[in-house]
Symmetry: C2
Subunit: 406 residues, 2 copies
């Protein structure tokens, strides 16, 4: 069993770096604060007897040897960068839960057969530099190192320069680092566990997502003198499409999701009929087939609306992540550990993307969720209970032991 | 008959002050460019033999004496300030049409019984300083001089300071300037005349308007992990209300208008369910009764939507202008002049507010509309035909003559 207080203390100490007045954390990727956070965690890793490797995109791997070091390591990890108004647990918990597992093994003098590794991946959040999940994405070959190096923040600084500056541009070629199995513990970032009063979420899969920009083009005109029948009101046409995003999601339960989160109106003036309205659409589901059906219904609805209203509507897909089913062996190990420890548990499909979806392209992978208060994350008020964090960490410990062997 | 080319030449010369690359005009109220425009028009007025009075809010009155100067003047006017991306005709036409009337009377040596005045009112557009129609509003006592003086632009400069700086803070107390009747010629700013192929719009009234801010408050949450049934999606609730704004307008034809022109989404992120959506509602109609009915239906619909969805919705009325019926004598003079001159004409209720609605609180008033290209104004591509501008000016000449007497 892990040490609840030690885990909590580590989380609180790391959260001091970049702490915000409202109790959150602002520690953007590759800033000086990120360096301080990295140095702290790496120091803890070395103190726990681990050796440290850094790859060219700044992913850090901390290794505890096994009795058979020819075996690929059983790895766990997550990220320590945060959103601009982030919390103490998102990502950080997954890394420090890994550290706590190693500390616990040390306390009990347990040697595993396969080595154990604790990783943190560079720039998961994608707030300062796009794309999101950059370190794990480069690692698994989803995009190139050069592409990632060239990403710029709003001040024009690149990932390559910033990695160098903070001293975390390592030597190892990303991906040239074997993984036997990958576990990631994470706060749920949703309300399902709390709503069902469960402590552990066994994560069989991560939903796929399609992101779109939808642009409706009408004709800008004065709100007073323009009779209703002579208008080409882009806002009204947008308002026809917005409810359909939710209707489509509701037609494919329980994992259908549909969200319009962003909107821009031109010229955005009280007494001008909008000439153009641009909004985002986020569709998710758990299988590629369902997601594809949702995509087709969305496309058809937009075409029908364009025909019926006579306004031009453009629907552009700007991102796509396929659904990611996790490996039965890793999911099974999580399930076994949960059962053995007797925690109230349920399956929770992850609605959000995580580094684990990229790790899963290279090795059997899975995730463990714990509840977070009101399902809230990416927010300074993000919160979680120490006993839930402890439970997730215990499940991680036993699942990793099952895979690593003793 | 007026001189079409002289009128057009004056419009084009004034439009050079603040001319934009795209063929429009940017001459915001009380800027150096506004001063240059004012100086040019005042110079033309003096050259035409008129005397000039400036009041404390910078309204300018140019006077051509009559044969009986104990009579209150028959006045015409409009404004010469523009939108940031404004055109050459909005406002400017009404002022220069007045000047052209005087020049024509001079050409023919016609003396009127009552004096003739050409006015331009300060800051009609309200782009740099709110409220709109500031000069005529102070003049008729809709709000105080002190209130207007204190209005600030985005740089913190006040109307009082800027009036002083450009030398147009006059001595006359606003409103202490008699008016016998007030005419205003203006481009329609809508598509009705063009659509019906008419040259003159006789304006019996200006619609009233109610402006609202509607704020829907839900709960911000992650677009992936939050199941559909646990959401409080402010965007979806806004999308229920938006079509009703148009439905209400369509229930009260032909003058019902309903527009949602402005929207702000919080936090406005692609993968966050909006926690708050704020949008504007603009409702208009031609009688106070109809506008009030529309107001009540809007309020009831918002309350019903709040009840049905469980989200908090605030509907705040931020502005109200009552409908303004014009005076039968002045409207009659316009109608007579149009008939006499034989122009294809129709009645057009003004959907937009004008200085004439404030003048109407003090004196019998009315307006003359001419078509503008595609009904477009408040846009650099605003355009109008010189023969239409000439026709409106001829109607103004004859209507003013009827009222002033010879
Ligand atoms: N965990 C997380 O917030 N990922 C960002 C991408 C997404 O919206 O799923
Ligand atoms: N003429 C004009 O654009 N007035 C502004 C107020 C309104 O929207 O009617």
């Amino acid at each position: 069993r892990v040490d609840r207080e030690r885990l909590w203390a580590a989380l609180m100490e790391l959260a001091r770096i970049g702490a915000t007045a409202k109790g959150g954390v602002k520690r953007l990727a590759l800033t000086d604060l990120d360096r301080q956070g990295r140095d702290l965690v790496v120091g803890w890793g070395r103190d726990a007897g681990m050796s440290v490797t850094v790859d060219q995109i700044g992913n850090v791997f901390m290794r505890r040897d096994g009795t058979d070091n020819t075996l690929p390591p059983v790895m766990t990890g997550s990220h320590i960068d945060t959103q601009p108004t982030g919390g103490k647990f998102d990502g950080n918990y997954g890394v420090l839960a890994g550290l706590e597992v190693v500390r616990t093994l040390n306390d009990h003098g347990i040697r595993t057969r396969a080595p154990i590794e604790v990783a943190f991946w560079t720039n998961e959040e994608g707030s300062r530099f796009v794309p999101v999940m950059m370190g794990s994405g480069v690692f698994c070959g989803a995009f190139t190192l050069e592409h990632a190096y060239a990403a710029r923040d709003t001040e024009g600084k690149t990932v390559g320069e910033e990695l160098e500056r903070i001293g975390y541009k390592g030597d190892q070629v990303p991906g040239e680092h074997p993984i036997g199995a990958y576990f990631e513990t994470h706060i749920e970032q949703g309300p399902v566990l709390e709503d069902a009063d469960k402590v552990i979420g066994v994560v069989p899969a991560v939903m796929g997502l399609s992101w779109y920009d939808c642009t409706v083009s009408g004709m800008e005109a004065h709100a007073g003198p323009t009779p209703m029948h002579l208008r080409k009101d882009a806002m009204q046409v947008a308002a026809r499409i917005i409810p359909e995003v939710v209707a489509i999601a509701n037609r494919y339960p329980p994992y259908g999701r549909g969200t319009v989160g962003m909107m821009q109106v031109f010229p955005n003036s009280r007494n001008v009929i909008p000439g153009q309205v641009k909004f985002s659409i986020d569709l998710r589901n758990v299988t590629g087939e369902l997601l594809n059906t949702m995509h087709e219904e969305m496309t058809a609805f937009v075409e029908k609306t364009a025909r019926e209203t006579g306004l031009a509507i453009e629907l552009e897909r700007v991102s796509y992540y396929p659904p990611c089913p996790f490996h039965p062996d890793v999911v099974g190990a999580v399930r076994n550990a949960t059962a053995k420890l007797g925690y109230p548990a349920m399956d929770v499909v992850s609605g959000a993307g995580h580094d684990a979806i990229y790790a899963a392209r290279l090795a059997p992978s899975g995730m463990i969720f714990v509840p977070c208060k009101d399902g809230i994350s990416h927010n300074e008020i993000e919160d979680a209970k120490s006993e839930h964090l402890e439970a997730g960490c215990n499940v991680l410990l036993h699942a990793m032991l099952e895979r690593a062997g003793t």
